[in-house]
């Protein structure tokens, strides 16, 4: 009886992998079945056997998709035994001695093994990114998430977007599973590069950055270095990023009152010959950020977009309350343009003839 059911699930998985189709009737069936513990168990067993040997590189996208669809929500920490079965006979088995199929620990073990086997193979960049952005959601279903630390560390060392995504997983490991990861903040600091505002994963990165720096127990020197670096990056950032990053810096300042010297340094010395802050220094603690001042902000007062100027103005009286940023991470410039397209009414200003106008474009270009 049980064999027939197992065969059914195995056939389904085989078909899916064979077709390599991410969407379709089979996939929806698979998704539905994976909510049941027994089906999932059979599927995982089958996948564990095959992922190592039979499935080749070109099958990786579909395998990853299957992995993503393994619904482990039933396997919570407090629960020892599973009860949600699709086939009646499975529950009949469980009436006696608890079978493997109904044990949470067994499920977790299988799940972990499949993932680890999958990650052992060499992954192309696109799949690598997908895996890294999905892992933080499923880490808790591993028997020990620390098993991922090697993989994540390696990913971090690759640099670029991948290291950025790896940081999310690493942070969870450090935060919840006591991973001893030295110089975590140095590594985050190293990721701050002018190009981050032009990346596809900009919103995610900003969100993570805010998350990493949400602790109030960080050293003020470290936070000051982050603030300084961020401000430096903002000099070249597009307006939509500015609207998100400026409140973020304000939040950091609100969290760390010791950093207020950056925006207000009373005393005799009003000028510095060169900025004491060294933006090329890899170690944030040695960047001398605390000795500097946040003159970049003053510069942004001249930004062409008036909302940015408004944000900068708020630095004059910093409040102790933090601002909610959740809406700002995903801000798009298209939204800004639509927001600006207000109603044109009678009082619209226009160029009155006779006033001197700049004519750079006609000096440099002959239009027709």
């Amino acid at each position: 009886m049980a064999d027939a059911q197992r065969c059914e699930i195995e056939e389904l998985v085989k078909r899916l992998v064979g077709a390599g189709n991410v969407a379709g009737a089979d996939m929806t069936k698979f998704k539905k079945r994976m909510k049941y513990d027994d089906c999932r168990y059979y599927a995982m067993k089958f996948m564990l056997v095959n992922v190592k040997k039979n499935w080749k590189k070109e099958k990786q996208p579909i395998v990853l998709n299957l992995l993503k669809n393994l619904d482990m929500t039933n396997c919570k920490d407090g629960v020892a035994q599973l009860t949600k079965f699709h086939f009646a006979s499975s529950s009949a088995i469980t009436t006696g001695k608890p079978a493997k199929l109904s044990l949470v620990s067994e499920h977790k073990r299988l799940y972990t093994f499949i993932w680890l086997e999958f990650l052992k193979a060499e992954l192309p960049a696109q799949i690598h990114k997908e895996v890294l952005s999905h892992l933080p959601n499923v880490m808790k279903f591993f028997t020990s998430p620390l098993q991922l630390s090697d993989y994540l560390t390696e990913s971090y060392n690759q640099g670029g977007v991948i290291s950025l995504l790896a940081l999310n997983g690493l942070f969870i490991l450090v935060n919840s599973y006591n991973l001893d990861y030295p110089n975590f903040y140095d590594k985050v600091y190293a990721l701050l590069h002018p190009q981050i505002f032009h990346l596809k994963y900009k919103a995610r990165f900003l969100y993570l950055l805010d998350l990493f720096l949400s602790s109030t127990h960080l050293s003020a020197h470290l936070v000051a270095a982050f603030i300084k670096k961020m401000a430096r990056l903002l000099l070249t950032a597009p307006p939509e990023s500015l609207l998100c990053a400026l409140p973020m810096i304000r939040n950091w300042l609100a969290r760390h009152p010791a950093c207020h010297v950056l925006v207000h340094r009373p005393g005799n010395a009003t000028e510095m010959a060169s900025d004491p802050y060294d933006s090329n220094e890899a170690d944030p603690m040695k960047s001398k950020a605390m000795e500097s001042s946040l003159w970049e902000i003053k510069y942004l007062l001249n930004h062409h977009y008036h909302e940015v100027v408004k944000e900068v103005m708020k630095f004059d009286n910093l409040s102790a309350h933090e601002q909610d940023l959740s809406d700002l991470f995903e801000l798009k410039i298209e939204e800004l343009v639509t927001k600006e397209l207000t109603k044109v009414d009678k009082g619209i200003a226009f160029n009155p003839p006779g006033l001197p106008q700049s004519c750079v474009s006609t000096e440099l270009w002959q239009l027709f």
């Binding site: 010959a273 003839p353 006033l355």
Partner: protein, 803 residues
């Protein structure tokens, strides 16, 4: 003394009571029930309070009564979902005895039963009407009338009704029943006949009327067409005449318009040249200050500029430019002659002067620019020489430029009335049509000649400045459209020129403007997201950067995208892929395989760097050839622009950090093969970029210290014994509101307390009553028990005694 006072109060109270009783209560009030707030002293000017006299007992009684009617009812109904209401007949009528009630009910029931079964009458039951059996009504003849309105004509009524006609019949009825019935029948027949005849007659008349009306209608219809045709022809003829007249002398009309324009009374002194100069200068200064205010973002609502200021646009009419040049050459400075007394004409000529500066050949530009530098920007456009008449003569001389002249004159005569004629809806449509045709032309495969294009641009700008609202709306739509498009490559020619148009119609220095702000955001988006794949995209990007420079040149606003783009172009020119890390934007990466700025030929020293570059030629779809010449020109332009930006931002701090990537790329630029001009430009840029800046620590503005509150005498301007709130209106309103709220809360609490008291009183009364009844019952039982006991004892005793 005390007695006297008492008697006085009593009198007073009596008076008040009697006054009151007149209106409200006929029953005289007990003077002891009144509470009088007597004033000890009469103070002049003080308002007498409203509540001099109170009737505490009465009001309390009233309040309790009200509570009993509402609160207690509610209390009694508490927990009851329904109750029985006795709706039997006469149940609540106190005047009826039980028997009477019973009788009524029985009668009603009987009636009801009868109505239910009116066909089957019981034995001995007959239906009656006014005490006569309704069965007898069969003899009733009914009304013979069947006219439309259901009424009998007056004479029939007079003759037959109310006994007059019936009288003889009635008499006959007594003598011979058979005959009377027959005669009656005949009479009725007659009446009917008459009636029908009359009806027929009426119908015939009606029909006749109908046919007549129809005939008339048809006649009118036939004539109507003819009438209409006639009127149409007349109108056309009239219009044709008008047109002919217009053709003959549009110039004359314009001239007449100018002549008949309202200018003030002849008795007034003519304005001297200095005066009109002064006025023009003041007006321009005013406009400039308004612009500055908008730039600083100080005023929130923008003032509209009067229609007087509405004249033609400001950039490039080649024809006007050429014409002015010609006049220039004739040495008379005739270009300014038109100014005369009219401010508006001054504007235009000032403008054309500007155009001249902008658009003519290089040398001309330089010279006029130097002129500008010499004299004040505002003033130099306003030296006047001659009168209107001379100007007109001059225009006549320039025969082939008459159309331009017409335009100028028509724009001069642009008054508010003209503005009103151009209704917004129409203008919007017109502008939209023109703009779209302009863009279509630019996007088409074969570009039209530059004359046509410049004519169109001038037209658009003129229209835009005349009706900025319409232009703004159309442009906003366009921007929205562009915004919704995916922006994976840099914009094409039509978009670039559209953005240029935006800049020349609307002020770009404003902090916030409904058209230019989104346009600038759009440009920033284009530079940020557009991917640079070939040389044309570099050109397009460079033009955008130039436009941005033009937009911010007055306000000195910071546009990081422009700098990033320039850095990107320099990166491509330097051709060192290892420096990619220093690049801010990623859109230069994907094209790195085939670098658009990489030179194909080494022999490029002879290439002449030409300024200005011709945008249309370079971007038109015809010439997709990527030549080294174009590349060199692009590099030169890029270097030039970077230097201009550096000069613009020179006064800002942080310029060093922003130009760091540019500095790096310029230093790595390999210019060995490039022409001298490029080398010069790069040297210039290097010098500029290596300038040092001083950084300043951020220090917040010192806060104003709060003054310590001191004990000072409070001085009222006008003392009336009452406290007055002093402060801003908003604060006062808030105070008053909170006071009112407090008072209302207090009142409500008091009411609640009173409610509670009434309720508790009722409850305790009920409980006591119940307790009393219970006690009574217990007492009775005990009594009866005691008597029983007594009986039993006595019985026992008796028995004992018996025994």
């Amino acid at each position: 003394m005390a007695k006297a006072r008492k008697s006085k109060t009593q009198k007073n109270s009596k008076r008040i009571a009697s006054d009151h009783s007149k209106f409200v209560n006929p029953k005289p009030l007990n003077p002891f029930e009144l509470k009088i707030n007597r004033q000890k002293h009469d103070i002049l000017g003080r308002k007498v309070s409203k509540h001099e006299v109170g009737k505490p007992l009465q009001s309390r009684k009233k309040a309790i009564k009200k509570r009993k009617e509402t609160l207690l009812v509610e209390y009694n109904n508490l927990g009851k979902s329904n109750s029985i209401i006795d709706r039997r007949l006469g149940e609540y009528d106190r005047n009826l005895t039980t028997d009477q009630k019973q009788l009524r009910r029985w009668a009603k029931a009987r009636k009801y039963n009868l109505a239910d079964s009116d066909e089957e009458l019981g034995p001995g039951e007959t239906l009656t009407q006014f005490n006569q059996a309704s069965a007898d009504a069969d003899h009733f003849d009914g009304f013979s009338d069947d006219s439309d309105d259901g009424k009998l004509s007056a004479d029939i009524v007079a003759a037959e009704h109310f006994g007059s006609g019936h009288q003889p019949n009635a008499n006959k009825q007594e003598t011979n029943e058979g005959v009377t019935s027959k005669t009656h029948y005949e009479r009725m027949q007659e009446i009917l006949k008459k009636k029908n005849e009359e009806k027929l007659r009426r119908d015939i008349v009606k029909e006749q009327m109908q046919t007549k009306r129809q005939q008339l209608d048809e006649q009118l219809k036939a004539n109507w067409n003819r009438i209409q045709e006639h009127m149409k022809g007349a109108k056309e003829r009239f219009e044709n005449e008008e047109l002919e007249r217009g053709k003959i002398s549009t110039l004359k009309i314009a001239h007449n318009k100018l002549l008949f324009e309202k200018r003030g009374t002849p008795s007034e002194r003519l304005k001297t040249r200095e005066q009109s100069d002064q006025e023009a200068k003041e007006r321009l200064n005013q406009l400039e200050t308004e612009r500055l205010q908008r730039m600083m973002g100080e005023i929130t609502e923008e003032k509209s500029i009067s229609a007087d200021a509405l004249t033609s646009g400001e950039f490039l009419d080649q024809k006007i430019g050429r014409r002015n040049k010609r006049i220039h050459e004739s040495g008379n400075d005739e270009e300014n002659e038109k100014d005369g007394n009219d401010d508006r004409s001054e504007d235009i000529l000032g403008l054309t002067n500007d155009n001249n500066n902008d658009n003519d050949s290089n040398e001309e530009e330089r010279s006029s620019k130097s002129d500008e530098e010499e004299s004040d920007d505002l003033e130099d456009n306003y030296d006047n020489d001659d009168d209107d008449d001379d100007d007109l003569e001059c225009s006549d001389e320039d025969g082939n430029d008459e159309s331009v002249e017409m335009k100028v004159i028509s724009s001069v005569s642009n008054t508010k009335a003209d503005e009103e004629i151009l209704k917004t809806e129409d203008v919007i449509n017109q502008f939209e049509k023109k703009l779209s045709s302009f863009c279509e032309l630019l996007a088409s495969y074969e570009l039209p000649s530059s004359d046509v294009l410049s004519e169109m641009t001038l037209d658009l700008i003129e229209m835009g400045t005349k009706s900025p609202v319409a232009a703004g709306q159309v442009m906003c739509q366009m921007i929205e459209q562009l915004n919704s498009m995916l922006c994976s490559s840099l914009p094409r020619l039509e978009t670039l020129l559209f953005l240029k148009l935006v800049g020349s119609i609307f002020p770009t220095s404003d902090r916030r403007h409904p058209v230019t702000t989104p346009a600038m955001l759009l440009m920033s988006k284009m530079l940020n997201h557009g991917i640079v794949r070939n040389c044309h995209e570099v050109v397009s990007g460079l033009f955008l950067v130039t436009l941005l420079l033009e937009f911010v040149s007055l306000s000195m606003r910071f546009v990081p995208e422009a700098i990033n783009f320039l850095a990107g172009v320099l990166f491509l020119a330097a051709d060192r892929p290892s420096d990619k890390e220093q690049l801010v934007m990623l859109n230069f990466r994907s094209g790195a395989k085939s670098n658009p700025m990489k030179l194909t030929n080494c022999e490029i020293k002879e290439i002449k760097v030409s300024v200005p570059l011709n945008l249309c030629q370079m971007l038109s779809t015809e010439s997709l050839l990527e030549t080294d010449e174009l590349r060199v020109n692009c590099l030169a332009m890029c270097l030039d622009l970077a230097a201009k930006y550096r000069i613009l931002y020179g006064s800002l701090p942080a310029v060093e950090a922003i130009f760091a990537p540019i500095k790096n790329f310029v230093e790595h630029l390999n210019l060995e093969n490039y022409p001298m001009k490029v080398k010069e430009l790069s040297e210039n840029l290097k010098d500029l970029v290596s300038q040092k800046v001083v950084y300043q620590y951020l220090v917040k503005a010192p806060k104003k210290p709060h003054s310590i509150k001191q004990l000072e005498p409070k001085i009222y301007e006008k003392f009336d014994g009452r406290k007055k709130l002093v402060g801003p209106q908003e604060w006062r309103d808030k105070q008053l509101a909170s006071k009112k709220c407090k008072k209302m809360k207090k009142d409500a609490e008091r009411e609640l307390r009173k409610d509670q008291r009434v309720l508790q009183g009722h409850i305790i009364k009920e409980t006591l009553k119940r307790k009393m009844i219970k006690d009574q019952k217990v007492k009775n039982i005990l009594n009866s028990l005691a008597s029983q006991e007594g009986d039993w004892r006595s019985m026992k005793k008796g028995k004992k005694t018996d025994l």
